[in-house]
């Protein structure tokens, strides 16, 4: 294989090696300088660009011993023409929380991937993992062995708990209402078995966002969305508010008029906030970051059920717990998740996400089964239809016949 260093001709792809945005074609070509697999990828991708159709076959079960997740099997449907990429499996490596790295750690991953794979990666995959893109079945065990020696482990895939991920949180954000990195690491370690060994009806994702800006899109993408929030009044630095007006910020138009609950008033000198009406949307804080801060009592709203369309349609997560303190060891959250997972694992249908499961059985029944009281915060409004279920009804007491 080593002698055929020839990089295939790719006139279509070459068009995407031009232009100002960094090019993925350049990346594949760079990898192709060393890797026959990446040379093969250039060839097959050029073919897809000509034929307007992909050339990868459906999965196939591959993995490392003792794990059921973390490796996505991938085979070419043109193995004779492109033997170097007959296998092109993906490895998901669990990223460090917050996606912080040292150059030394990243280099060890690069070195490993030069020895055992295509030299191509994604930083990062959609769920958050480091994606090592393209290797052969026989390389999987050596890769896993070296990865764990380096202190890394595989992430999730298939019907397991997927690799939890989080925003930058308190590492670099003043708005983090809890330690998103700490929680993500804690949950990841707590659920190692469930991440590596699929045992659920379908996938289950955790995403930890430090504030309602939700930089990890948890409300759209996570079965369990943990979104930081606070109680009590927004903290105001009045002098800093005034300073903004000198920079040309129009407090009335840019802040008060955009407030969804219209709880802010500006008289040209002072900003007053009717905190009891605040919905904690973050807009005013986003616009005036040096002047306003979330209130001091902080925690998270726990929401459940987001997913992309397959199967029953896309869903956003909805509120399960309006406010929960988020402090190690996160016992209340883990107990809640434990009950949910147990119920869904038992009662969920194959390939039914928990959001779909809740729709099928009804949120009211779901709450009852996991022991949560129904709250008005959980719904946009109470039901509009009168088809109300009651499990029991009264019966007239049988009257005893008197002699």
């Amino acid at each position: 294989m080593g002698d055929e260093k020839k990089i295939p001709k790719t006139p279509k792809l070459d068009e995407l090696d031009k232009g100002p945005w960094p090019s993925f074609v350049r990346e594949i070509k760079r990898a192709a300088e060393k890797s026959p697999m990446s040379r093969g990828l250039l060839g097959v991708l050029e073919r897809s660009y000509n034929e307007k159709v992909g050339h990868w076959k459906h999965g196939g079960i591959v993995g490392v011993r003792g794990y059921g997740g973390g490796v996505i099997g991938r085979y070419s449907d043109l193995p004779e023409e492109f033997p170097d990429i007959a296998h092109f499996h993906t490895i998901r490596v669990n990223q460090p929380a917050g996606w912080f790295y040292t150059s030394a750690a990243l280099r060890t991953i690069c070195d490993l991937w030069e020895r055992h794979g295509s030299g191509l990666t994604n930083l990062h995959g959609s769920t958050g993992d480091i994606i090592l893109l393209g290797t052969r079945t026989e390389e999987l065990e050596p890769i896993f062995s070296e990865l764990t020696q380096m202190g890394f482990d595989l992430g999730g895939s298939g019907s397991d708990i997927r690799t939890p991920s989080c925003c930058v949180g308190p590492a670099r954000c003043e708005w983090a209402c809890y330690d998103t990195l700490g929680l993500t690491y804690d949950l990841t370690m707590h659920y190692q078995d469930e991440i590596h060994r699929p045992a659920f009806p379908y996938k289950f994702k955790f995403k930890a966002a430090g504030c309602p800006n939700d930089c990890v899109a948890s409300i759209a993408r996570a079965d369990l969305s943990i979104i930081g929030t606070w109680k009590g009044p927004i903290q105001v630095d009045a002098a800093a508010v005034t300073a903004y007006t000198k920079d040309g910020t129009d407090i009335q138009a840019d802040v008060c008029d955009r407030c969804p609950s219209k709880c802010m008033a500006w008289d040209g000198k002072a900003l007053t906030i009717a905190n009891e009406w605040c919905v904690r949307c973050m807009h005013c804080i986003n616009v005036l970051p040096t002047a306003l801060r979330p209130g001091p009592e902080r925690g998270a709203t726990i929401l459940v059920g987001a997913k992309a369309p397959i199967i029953q349609g896309a869903m956003l997560s909805s509120v399960l717990v309006p406010f929960m303190k988020m402090e190690p060891p996160y016992t209340a959250l883990k107990e809640l998740v434990g009950k949910m997972l147990e119920l869904w694992a038992e009662e969920g249908k194959s390939r039914e996400r928990i959001g779909e499961f809740i729709q099928r059985v009804g949120l009211g029944n779901f709450l009852e089964a996991i022991g949560l009281e129904p709250l008005p915060e959980m719904v946009a409004h109470p039901r509009e239809n009168p088809y109300v279920f009651y499990e029991e009804y009264l019966e007239e007491e049988p009257t005893e016949a008197k002699a």
């Binding site: 993925f24 350049r26 899109a217 369309p309």
Partner: protein
């Protein structure tokens, strides 16, 4: 081999994040006071201690060779004490303590072809999926369209001249690994032809009850053909979701003549001002036209420009449409409104106009 077995470790989890945090982050963890965006792609976070942490953000193609990652490592060694991070939208960030290193780093990144930007009222990097590079169910390529679109829109990445943030995303099929369903503008690969059943292979590789159960519209039915148990597809019921193919490889949907791209608008995940929203269908179908998908690039650019010209400050795409109404959205963009725009799946009625509040 014996040695490998002896050393085999499992369930160790990822490295602890604290091992990778820069010293200034460790010292000020949870103690940040405020931040300011200094210029496109550059911000400073100021800690209660007075420490200042400068972040320089650059776009990447997400699909990265190890050579390029090593190049990023070299930059981190030179400018940020060997520390770097990535964002949820595939940007790379260098964390600096010396403001004097900002200009040289930005210049270095630009020379190497990595644009600095993606902050505040800008287009950030596009979230996207694998496409023809690696996926079996792709209806289009992902990286190619992203590259072509971002080549055109890079001027909105490197500046902050838009009314609000604009989040672009691409998923190459309805599985939406990229979860594009809450983006300001989403590009979604679609199939438009029912699965072509490989009747010889299906009975050998697929479980009939699972395949039948996988179909959300009950278009897949069990059928005996030539004495073999297999399935048939009621074609008029098929909405091309591809779920049967996920369960059964003998039912591929990919079809060069019919596959293509749809464009969706007005979604958001942030709670700022308005609640999170789904993206809604703007353009039902555009052709796959590699290598540069000119129809898709033109459509996305047009949507960005119409929104940018008409939206008020802080109005995301969806908020702008809420204000002007959908009839005016179609009027201003010149996009024809068609039968395909009207929902006909579950809860479709919730999307009908159930009032006479009509802006004209």
């Amino acid at each position: 081999m014996a040695e490998t077995v002896a050393q085999r470790k499992t369930d160790i989890g990822p490295p602890h994040y604290q091992k990778f945090l820069p010293p200034i982050v460790k010292q000020n963890y949870g103690q940040w006071r405020y931040h300011e965006i200094l210029r496109p792609g550059v911000m400073v976070h100021v800690a209660e201690s007075g420490d200042r942490l400068y972040t320089v953000r650059a776009g990447s193609p997400r699909l990265l060779s190890i050579q390029t990652i090593r190049e990023f490592c070299d930059l981190a060694d030179r400018y940020s004490g060997g520390h770097l991070r990535f964002t949820s939208r595939n940007n790379i960030e260098f964390l600096l303590t010396d403001p004097g290193t900002i200009d040289p780093l930005v210049a270095d990144l630009n020379t190497r072809g990595f644009p600095v930007g993606g902050m505040a009222n800008a287009i950030s990097n596009m979230v996207h999926t694998q496409g023809w590079v690696h996926c079996h169910s792709a209806a289009t390529d992902a990286s190619g369209i992203v590259k072509a679109v971002m080549d055109e829109l890079i001027g909105y990445f490197t500046t902050m001249k838009l009314p609000a943030k604009l989040r672009l995303a691409l998923a190459c099929c309805l599985n939406m690994c990229g979860a594009v369903h809450c983006s300001d503008i989403a590009i979604l690969g679609i199939h438009r032809r029912p699965p072509k059943i490989d009747q010889d292979r299906l009975p050998k590789v697929c479980e009939i009850p699972s395949v039948v159960a996988s179909c959300p519209t009950a278009a897949v039915r069990p059928k005996r053909i030539d004495g073999k148990e297999t399935v048939e597809v009621i074609e008029e019921r098929c909405m091309f979701c591809g779920n049967c193919y996920t369960v059964c490889p003998a039912m591929p949907l990919a079809d060069a003549l019919n596959d293509g791209v749809s464009i969706w608008v007005g979604g958001k995940v942030s709670n700022a001002r308005t609640a999170p929203m789904f993206s809604k269908l703007a353009i039902p179908y555009l052709p796959n036209n590699p290598p540069r998908w000119p129809e898709v690039v033109e459509a996305v650019k047009h949507l960005v420009e119409v929104w940018a010209a008409d939206a008020k400050k802080y109005e995301r795409m969806g908020e702008w449409i809420q204000r002007i109404g959908w009839p005016r959205f179609f009027q201003k963009t010149g996009i024809p409104f068609t039968k395909q725009h009207i929902d006909d799946f579950r809860y479709a009625g919730l999307s009908y106009q159930r009032s006479v509040h009509i802006k004209s």
